[in-house]
Amino acid sequence: MESVLSPAASSTAPRRRKRFQSWKWAPYIFISPFVIIFAIFGAFPLIFSATLSFAQWDPAAGFGAIKWIQLDNYKFVLTDRWFWKSLGNTVYIALASGLPQHLVAIPFAAFLSTLLRGRNIVLGAYFLPFITSSVAISLIFSSLFSKDFGAINAILMSLHDHLPLIGQLLPDHKVDWLQNTEMVKPTVSFVVFWRYVGWNTVLYLAAMQTIPEDLYEAATLDGASITRQFWHITLPMIRPMMFFAVSLTLINNLQLFEEPFILLGDNGGTGQAAMTTAMYMYRTAFYFSDFGTACAISWVMFVIIAVLSYGNNRLFKLAGGED
């Protein structure tokens, strides 16, 4: 290739012919794989899905069978009691697994940030669930939570019999974690909590490590207790990370699919007590072959996620005293 000069260099050498200014078009070549892949597998499917949400179509019948039905899919979804039930399940599990994640992760990260040794080993143990396959994890838990042969009931019963005082608080009978409609949502929530608490701890710890040490030193000189330092230095300083972490939890939990799908089967368990909206969308498309309605469900969920994220954003801004 001809020698190619940067803009600055070529302006000082005006006699050189500018035949092939590859530094001008090179960046477009470099980003072209992303642009092409995003256009085909990112943008196009979204447009297609938005279009299809206004149609009735069984893809087995070919493109000629598309029937335009305006807002009927949306009307159906918004009046469908199974949709609302699935949304209720999703919100229940999102809160029951999400709130404890952050309430545990913040003080835990504060504790870890005081450690000089052993921090990485402890952190590793809590972080491991996050990187392992959610399917493998859910399979393991569906064995552990099994009523008659599961290790969890066996351990609880044994603790009830042998542990003084606290043991009495534990159940004296085998709990039907995966069949009892009262128990399935807490069980799924626990598995989700277990999977993400270490991830949130890592996020909060990373934020705490950026807090300047002299803030704490000054507070200690002024006689502020550890608790006061936590409330008045640590918490305000990690507020941007709290916003980020809570947003991630919100977005991920509202799309929850794999854990309940494996733990309870594709119908969400007895009475569909843990069928999330993502599972309902999957069933609508692939079991009932109603792709138009399934697309409408996904867009309704998108709007719900967007609105809640916006609300979360406002909430953090208000709490921080900005406007």
Partner: protein
Amino acid sequence: MAVTKKNTTGKSVAWVIVFLGAVLMLAPFYFTFVLATQPREAIYHIPPPMWFGEALAHNISAINALIPFWHNLGMSFYVAAMTTVLALFFCSMAGYAFAMYEFRFKKFFFAIVLGSMLLPPFLGLIPTFMLMNALGWLDQPRALYLPAAAGAFGIFLMRQYIGSAVPKELMEAARIDGCGEFRIYWNVVLPLIGPALGTLGLVTFITSWNSFLQPLVIMHTPENFTLPVALRSVQSTTNTDWGAVMAGSAIAVLPLLILFVLFSRRLIAGLTAGAVKG
């Protein structure tokens, strides 16, 4: 945080809680390996086994009788490896362009990168399935690795790293020496960004290895299932052969455990990259 001496009792209590929590976090992995080594009679026994047995080989052959396990393992590995190789190449190129070049519509394209991170994945699930159906790509591994080959997270990570690790003067010098643009990327930039490539490679491989929803809707013949989809297909509500399922799960989790032990620091740093600046 500063710690005073009167806090030592508080600290011991905290340590006990943290230790019990760590046991809770690791116990399911322990039981995976325990059940993977136990025969069926021991698993369906009260109380259930708490220690390793000798049936591992039997359970592995049992899982092979139920699903084409080695095919599935190979498919998982093939898809994850292809995704990783392509993502390293495409993301580092795009990240390099965004970090080091000025060009028209740069802001517009970067806004697309950032915006695509905000799209919830399940929004694209059904139309992606239909697109792959229309392309005749159902049951094809490329339907899994191509869409994941230029992720926004990777481009963002690369742009941040290249911007801080590669001096612009180096590019100028290479140009004056007569280096073409692609050779600058390949021979000058790539050798300087090894750590970022390592991090992105780990994150991409693990994400692909664990992926479930996409292969669930795209792969249809049992030989082409990735490991998570194959393992799920063994699970039946009444009479699951847990020893076999756990042996399969143990093998699915094992590569992740090894990667984690070797690279946990880099992995944690990579996954939280970008978040820390927020």
